[in-house]
């Protein structure tokens, strides 16, 4: 499981970085999205991978922490997803504004000669 997750994160971030370095704004936004997916999985994996363990403790009864997975990275991922989603949406608007104002989807707003 560790290997699959590691390869998955690597492929996502690798493709994301490659797309981020491309000259078209649409490629850049897809690249940023892929990077943020990779990063979210990475945050998740930093709480150690556990199968069939819940992150929520029952109230009242004494608990054995080894039976549960770390809840903090999951909370962090939730926040990161929300923020990433919002900023990506905002970037999409700027991308469209740039396309409308400059008539080009190049990141510099003009076609290279």
């Amino acid at each position: 499981m560790e290997l699959i997750l590691a390869i998955g994160i690597g492929v996502l971030v690798g493709s994301g970085v490659w797309l981020l370095l491309r000259p078209r704004t649409y490629q850049v936004i897809v690249g940023l999205s892929l990077i943020s997916y990779g990063v979210n999985l990475f945050i998740f994996s930093m709480g150690r991978l556990r199968v069939n363990a819940s992150p929520v403790l029952p109230s009242g009864a004494p608990v054995d922490p080894t039976q549960y997975t770390d809840p903090i990275p999951q909370a962090l991922v939730l926040t990161a997803i929300v923020i990433g989603f919002a900023t990506t949406a905002l970037f999409l608007v700027v991308l469209l504004a740039s396309r409308g104002l400059t008539g080009s989807d190049h990141v510099d707003g003009r076609e290279p000669n």
């Binding site: 990077i35 990161a80 900023t87 700027v94 707003g109």
Partner: protein
Amino acid sequence: MLLSDHLIILPILLPLATGALLLLFDERRRVLKALISAVSVLMLAIVAVALLRLADADTGTPTTGVYLLGNWPAPFGIVLVLDRLSALMLTLTAMLACASLFYSLARWHKSGPHFHTLFQFLLMGLNGAFLTGDLFNLFVFFEVLLAASYGLVLHGSGTLRVRAGLHYIVINLAGASLFLIGVSLIYGVTGTLNMADLAVRIPAVPEENRMLLEAGGAILGVAFLVKAGMWPLSFWLPTAYMAAAAPVAAIFVILSKVGVYIILRLSLLLFGAGAGASSGFGEQWLLFGGMATIAFGAIGVLASQAMGRLAGFSILVSSGTLLAAIGLAEIEVTSGALFYMVSSTLTISAFFLLIELVERAQDPAADILAVTREAYGDDLDDEEEEEEVGVAIPATLAILGICFAGCGLLLAGMPPLSGFIAKFALLTAMMNPEGFGAGGVIPAMIWALVALLILSGLSAMIAMTRAGIRTFWAPIEGTVPRVLLIEIVPVAFLLLLCLAITVQGGPVMRYMEATARSLHAPENYIRDVLSAPRMPAPAREAHQ
């Protein structure tokens, strides 16, 4: 809990409430919005000064104000921490906010929707980032301020702004990813996100995990260095700042200092003297990177034709100086650097505001020599022309000229203003690490840094003189710009603040030294955060 205890969270709540309230009003109720925003910023300034006095109240033992959000004890809940450094940054932010907001009331706040709301949210993010004692909470506030800054950098629209804003957003989104990777790596190794708790746990990190921890710290650092504008990561900065509207650029000056602030805090707290095997991690990088930034900034200052670019590169010089000073990690140098940070931030902010006023006067024909200006786009002037109401000031050119000369002196670090004191404090501290005249051989690295600092001042002087001659003396038939009182007063206010810290150099320097001492010996900070008492549960009324 006393009212003064709740004062710590007010710099976050006040802009948040104001920003949300402003959303309820239609854009046409401009006067009302401006009024609410202005009152809020003034209150913020009062709160910030009150917090500054609170943080500096006890000179003997440094006391750290800790605010437990949700009443959870420190390593588990999120804490807000007020010490001298964060109080200083809060005050600096509030001063810049006052100046830029009042400046914007003359015309800029009309040139796009939701200016005041975004401005307030930016302040909320800034204040939160300065106050928080938790790494992930820092990320959240960082994103709040970035999201607001994305809106503000586009304020006024226009091709140039959208183009520069696009680059700005992409770079900061990529930086946010790095931030997350760094934070989660540090969490994965240490199991905590509280800065004080991290400082306790880092010396105990086992050897096989230390590399991961340092990688996390380095990746986190890169995210802030992008914001601060260290050399290979800084190419976006001058263009974005030049393209932004004048009041926006003026408040953005503090944005680059957020990066510097966090690097200063984290490098001394997490990788300071008490960090065991990781002690001093990254200092060399900061020193060399800072020096490269000074060199790049100084060359950029000399090469700039447009004054907006000149100001943008001045930010890089300022950031580079600060980063190099942090890299030296000595108490005296740090206190000099803090003084330099206040002085240079106020100066560059005033300069950004001034540029727009000065350039308003310029006859396009007078700029034929400045051919390269065209490359940066002439569409800065496409703001809607409206009838301006307000008091125009007399003797405009003379006042603008005096302000310009003041900015020049401050940027170059010439006596008699605070720029000189700041540079002098830095240089003496670097050359006399063990007290005046007591040091042994000064290493070559220090000589190089001293030379770079002096040369960067020289290049600022040359560039400012050239720009001043071209603007104020060269035009034969100069058109006098129409400058409103409300536009020149903020510039004068910022410059007078520089004058004030010059005149009050002794007390200000004492404050900076106390700040630097507590930063270099964070034991009190750690103890105060981790032992902050919880509030007792409110006594419930007996129900029947």
